[in-house]
């Protein structure tokens, strides 16, 4: 093939306008070593096979499947959920506590100021209080039995009439 024809084909090649046939011709031309004019030698490597050297290239390594790194959230979502539940429970528990805040005065009583000093005194106080309770209860039962008796009499009188 003439040098001029090759030059035209090269121009077309660099304009990406060559056909497959033309590229095959270029390849064939530049594969004939020793016949290439020095002005075209710089283009030769573009169309030459790598030959044996190409075959000697080391094989590509197998694709290594890297372990999928889960995000920190996905890895620990159970722990995060548990922590949140505990936090919410604690907050709710604190919220519904009948605390001293709701009843500030209740916590402020210092009963020791009013505490009786000896077991004997305590006995007397408790005795008086207990007797007061018992007497009132007794009084109440007496009045209710009196009321019941009165009601009974009333019913009897009404029945007679």
């Amino acid at each position: 093939m003439k040098k001029e024809t090759i030059k035209i084909l090269l121009d077309k090649y660099f304009q990406a306008a060559t056909t497959l046939e033309e590229e095959r011709q270029l390849k064939e031309y530049f594969s004939r070593q020793g016949e290439i004019p020095p002005s075209l030698l710089p283009y030769a490597p573009l169309f030459q096979d790598f030959g044996e050297a190409g075959k000697a290239l080391p094989p590509l390594p197998d694709l290594v499947v890297l372990p999928q790194h889960k995000s920190a959230f996905r890895r620990n979502y159970r722990a995060i959920a548990a922590a949140l539940l505990i936090l919410i429970s604690t907050l709710l528990w604190i919220e519904f506590q009948p605390s001293a805040k709701n009843n500030p005065v209740a916590e402020s009583i210092d009963w020791s100021k009013y505490e009786v000093q000896s077991p004997e005194e305590a006995f007397e106080v408790t005795r008086s209080a207990f007797i007061k309770v018992a007497q009132t209860m007794d009084q109440s039962s007496q009045s209710s039995s009196l009321a019941a008796k009165n009601l009974e009499t009333l019913t009897r009188v009404m029945n007679i009439n």
Binding site: A81, I109, P119, Q139
Partner: protein, 173 residues
């Protein structure tokens, strides 16, 4: 996640025994606290420690075999763990009416009400212990033209014991 749900609900509804105790104490303390430092009121408190001492043999004066009344009374005191008394003779009827309004009737049920011709009104309120059918607290509210008294017995009280004692008093009159 399924295993965590019961824990969540447990945490939500769990109330410690301490908190339950606090709520019980607060109902009556709230009223006492209002007048406990008021000069018009006299206040007496008998702690559980003193009740323990009374019941133990540590005080021989209270353990005299000859004094039957004391021995009987100590038997009745068995379930009592504390006593608080609040008393005044200034505007007693007003304090009685106010106390009746302020005592939380959701916590206490009325055991009996006594109204006398003299104008004296007495109300017994109890807080029951569901576990053993005993009374956790017995509250006596009494108001007359002469005095206002608020008595609070706490512990594990047996109402039968009190009414038995009331009968004994009546028989010994």
């Amino acid at each position: 996640m399924k295993t965590l749900l019961p824990l969540f609900f447990l945490g939500l509804f769990w109330q410690s025994p301490l908190s339950a105790q606090t709520s019980n104490i607060n109902a009556i303390d709230a009223y006492f606290s209002q007048y406990v430092d008021d000069e018009r009121f006299s206040v007496v408190y008998v702690s559980s420690r003193l009740f323990e001492l009374m019941k133990s043999a540590a005080v021989p004066e209270l353990r005299s075999k000859e004094d039957k009344e004391k021995n009987d009374l100590l038997r009745y005191f068995e379930g009592i763990q504390g006593l608080r008394v609040l008393r005044t003779d200034e505007t007693p009827e007003l304090f009685y009416a106010e106390a009746k309004k302020k005592i939380d009737t959701k916590l206490y049920e009325t055991l009996m009400t006594v109204r006398e011709k003299s104008g004296k009104n007495t109300e017994f309120l109890i807080k029951s212990n569901d576990k053993n059918n005993k009374v956790q607290e017995l509250l006596l509210l009494s108001g007359s033209p002469e005095e206002f008294v608020l008595l609070s017995f706490v512990g594990n009280l047996d109402l039968e014991d009190i009414s038995k004692f009331a009968k004994e008093i009546s028989e010994n009159k």
